[in-house]
């Protein structure tokens, strides 16, 4: 089974009234040669008005606002995705030595996926992982990326709550633990330090039991399907996924939503609102096999009646909480 219906629900609950909530979501799965996004529907409660665009990396972004007072905000993204069978093409045989001789050309084209970022700063202490991965690489770029992903999988403990949504790799390096967001960033840190372009992938990991109903029940790491991993550039065959959290190949169960330099480029939901109230965020992702192949994309036809004018009370502007990719 490689056709999934995904329902990603994000709910903000505030302690008191808030208003003028503006949000930007990256929740629509990619539609490309590796997966088809057969339908996508975004709804909000309260209802909202919005616009959509594609960002610099080609990801779909939806922006919407809720002006009137509200005490909770629910954002529900429902998509149907068909994951394509991978081709049987052999792994990219490019050796690290060949790669190095061409690297100046890649530097130019893939600057964004090589340069340090806020989440993935250039840290000298990663050098050791780079060296160990290089010795275990068998001399190829693909081997290097695999060895780096394996090393991270072995050396770092998966501990929920060890880090937070704004943690850089410095945090997980110092405590030896993290969640998938950190693991993906660590892998990017290692390959980028080796001079190989890497990009962050935000997506879903479909639980094994759903992907293969007859297969034996498998724990979903993190307990929910929202997931992150990394892709590394293979000089001849293009981007290839590596999942240092799962420690297994990236395949039909990995549904991709967005690419970026790091989490900051692809946060599933981000926003600001006005209000004094505290907030709590809950996220739920449900995946089930899609039986019907419901047609084309249908965006929520947002219907808003008479929007009452925003409250005249001055409320401070606050950033909305963000979900860490676990």
């Amino acid at each position: 089974m490689n056709r999934y219906r995904l329902v990603h629900t994000t709910e903000f609950v505030y302690d008191g009234p808030v208003s003028e909530s503006y949000n930007e979501v990256r929740l629509r799965p990619l539609h490309d040669e590796r997966q088809s996004c057969l339908s996508f529907r975004l709804t909000t409660n309260p209802g909202s008005r919005g616009t959509a665009y594609r960002d610099a990396h080609g990801n779909w972004v939806h922006q919407f606002n809720v002006l009137p007072e509200h005490q909770r905000l629910k954002v529900e993204a429902e998509s149907v995705v068909l994951a394509h069978e991978a081709s049987d093409a052999p792994a990219d045989p490019t050796t690290l030595a060949e790669f190095d001789s061409r690297s100046h050309q890649l530097d130019e084209e893939y600057f964004d996926f090589m340069a340090p970022t806020g989440y993935v700063p250039h840290l000298a202490c990663i050098k050791e992982i780079v060296e160990v991965a290089e010795r275990a690489s068998g001399g190829t770029v693909a081997g290097f990326a695999q060895a780096a992903a394996d090393l991270i999988h072995q050396r770092f403990r998966y501990v929920k709550g060890a880090t937070h949504v704004h943690s850089s790799i410095e945090d997980s390096l110092s405590i030896g633990a993290g969640v998938c967001q950190d693991f993906a960033h660590l892998l990017l840190g290692v390959v980028r330090m080796r001079g190989i372009p890497g990009r962050y992938v935000s997506g879903y990991l479909v639980p094994g039991s759903t992907a293969a109903p007859d297969a034996k029940q498998e724990d979903v790491i993190g307990g929910q399907a929202s997931h992150a991993w990394a892709e590394v550039l293979m000089p001849n065959t293009g981007w290839m996924g590596f999942d240092p959290t799962l420690g297994k190949p990236v395949g039909l169960r990995h549904v991709r939503i967005a690419y970026g330099r790091d989490y900051g480029d692809v946060a599933p939901v981000r926003g600001v609102y006005k209000g004094h109230a505290g907030q709590s965020l809950s996220v739920d992702v449900r995946v089930r096999p899609a039986i019907d192949d419901a047609g084309c994309e249908q965006l929520n036809k947002i219907t808003v009646g008479n929007v009452p004018p925003p409250s005249v009370l001055e409320r401070p502007q606050q950033p909305a909480q963000q979900q860490q990719q676990q």
């Binding site: 930007e24 960002d55 606002n65 002006l67 340069a115 600001v272 502007q317």
Partner: protein, 487 residues
Amino acid sequence: MVKSGLFEGYDTGSFYDEMFSAPGQPRPHYAKLFQKLAAMAPGQFEERRRLADLSFLIQGITFTVYSDGRGTERLFPFDLIPRILPQSEWERIDRGLSQRVVALNLFLQDVYGKQSIFKDRQIPRWLVYSCPNFRREVIGVEVSRGIYTHICGIDLVRDSKSGDFYVLEDNVRTPSGISYVLENRLVMTRTLPDAFQACEVLPVNHYPAELARILRSLSPRGEDGAQIVLLTPGIHNSAYFEHSFLAQQMGIQLVEGRDLIVDGGIVYTKTIRGLKRVDVIYRRVDDEFLDPLTFRADSILGVPGLMGAYRAGNVALANAVGNGVADDKAIYSFVPTFIRYYLGEEPILKTVPTYLCANPGDLSYVLEHLAELVVKAVGESGGYGMLMGPAADRAKIEEFRERIRANPRNYIAQHVVPLSRVPSYDPSTGSVAGRHVDLRPYCLYDGEKVTIVPGGLTRVALQHDSMVVNSSQGGGSKDTWVLRGEG
């Protein structure tokens, strides 16, 4: 023997003097002014100067200095002796600036669009992508009428050695200072009316009308009834006077972020009669504060959702978002390349040779010669983040050495250009002495032609021997006269 009054004993020093070709020998375009000023009775000039200062004070024409802990509004010191340019010289500057503005606009269209300049290897992508003010958020956004650089202030200096004008830096984000050009002219005509009338000076007062015309042309709903506002960060901004002045001159509403609201990708102003749609925003708020949803979440100066409206083409912003990549001081050294690449022309104006600390070869040279160089942070303006090597003490030089080593991409260096001087009045001595000047003309671009009000703001370093003319660093200004003809 000509009576030289005020200019008795004036020393042109070893610099290019804008007024005198030799001691006691005014240049032809200064001859009439020289006669008028030299003929003044002792004390008369001082009296006129006080009147001019009073006039600025009464009108509340001030600016704020950030680095000074006192944080007070100050008068922008005004020097009564104007900087004069003959028409032929100005026309060459006008052509050179127009060429530059068009090339900068094409560069911005390209880096946020097709990016052909990278494919054609005219500038390395890393240099552009590593600019602190390069905004990935606007890649692929179609701006109204393809215009990014509606308003540019381009700083020129005259090199004392060659006598040639050089471009020192481009300001294509939110350049300020035009209000002083307009006010200086007004005060000048009142304070020295006979001198002004004796010279045929080209007018500057059409600037607000021209700017308003361009802003109106950007309206996504057509020009008729286009609602235009000027977005200011507020009263604490150093240029707040200018914001209110320009809004008033153009007859448009002056707003702060909290006066605007976005709903469903449309921008509105809040009025007592309800929401009113906004079509064009002349924004004087920096990119990163414009929209807390897209840029800094902690910004309270901006308008949440504004970028969504901009991206959807429902509102036009002037200047465009992301322009900071074009006036980055490392990109500066590539502007001649842009002119050749996009326009197929040779640059009319010269640029100062620049060392990019991001290049290892340049970096080691810069670190070895810090005491002779001017070092600038690439994304800063207003004279902030700058080292004047020859005037700096050892501690300051060492501080910059560390800063450059820590982040080489953030710095460039140039040899000091010995700026030309204009005689300027020193109230503490009651005499006239040479002071260094630059020139910032204001260029308006409507997508077809560049309009530059003749002259611009002449900034003057009022301290003896100083070459830093920025108002934030203790500079003042002069009226700039472009003559009809050669004087």
